[in-house]
């Protein structure tokens, strides 16, 4: 796991508690090279999170436990590296946008 991956994931869960997961998660992914406590809190403020609630959730041990559970889940479905994508439970053979789109189209036809 990358050095700040766990904290970033905990922060994303904290943002989800305030229904800001999508915006916050996108901001973290765009700034993936510079993640640390300061930049994470900067992005949290930028997307308009209530910082008091965010800080409480960010330091909540239950969030860390949830990430550990997700790691176990990934291992149980044979995730060997990230990002790993499953479409209706199937791991795409082609790891490209075209490959994902084709699989989604096939699933919609079922």
């Amino acid at each position: 796991m990358h050095p700040f991956a766990e904290k970033a994931s905990i922060a994303a869960l904290a943002a989800a508690e305030q229904d800001k997961y999508e915006e916050f998660s996108s901001a973290l992914l765009k700034d993936f090279k510079n993640l640390n406590d300061q930049t994470i809190k900067k992005h949290a403020e930028a997307v308009g999170l209530n910082m008091e609630k965010f800080n409480a959730a960010y330091s909540n041990p239950a969030r860390k436990k949830q990430i550990q559970e997700d790691l176990k889940l990934g291992s149980s479905v044979k995730v060997r590296g990230v990002p790993a994508i499953f479409i209706n439970g199937r791991m795409p053979k082609q790891r490209s946008l075209a490959g994902f789109s084709q699989m989604v189209e096939e699933e919609l036809k079922k």
């Binding site: 700040f4 990230v82 499953f86």
Partner: protein, 140 residues
Amino acid sequence: MKKHVFHPAVFFCALAIVLSLTTAPFAKVEWEILKDITLTDDPRDIVIASDGSTAYILCSKSVQIYSTREKKVTGSIPLTDDFSQIAIAPNGEQLFLTKTAGKQLSVIKVSQVYDIPIGTSPVIGKAGAPVTIYAFLDYQ
């Protein structure tokens, strides 16, 4: 100038010593029965996926799918013909069934479909959508 001489006797002697050092020690096999399962159909042959996750048991009227993780039969592929042998492709994506009497080969595509619980993970999009894309990310 120094001359290097290759002496066959020394070489074979050295080789014999290396071989004796690298011979694997004797190991006995320990065993215990983990599970006894009564199948719904008569078994004839069995193959196991290379990752060890799934065993495919060829029976007279079906291929029974056994999950080694769940330790139970999790599915069944019905057969209309009477096959005698089964083999699996190295990537685990195709089963090959043969029938000696009818000079027949049947190839069945198989793929793993995981029932991944969403639980309390963040979700983008509408509940009940026909397609769920589950992403494992780490942000770095």
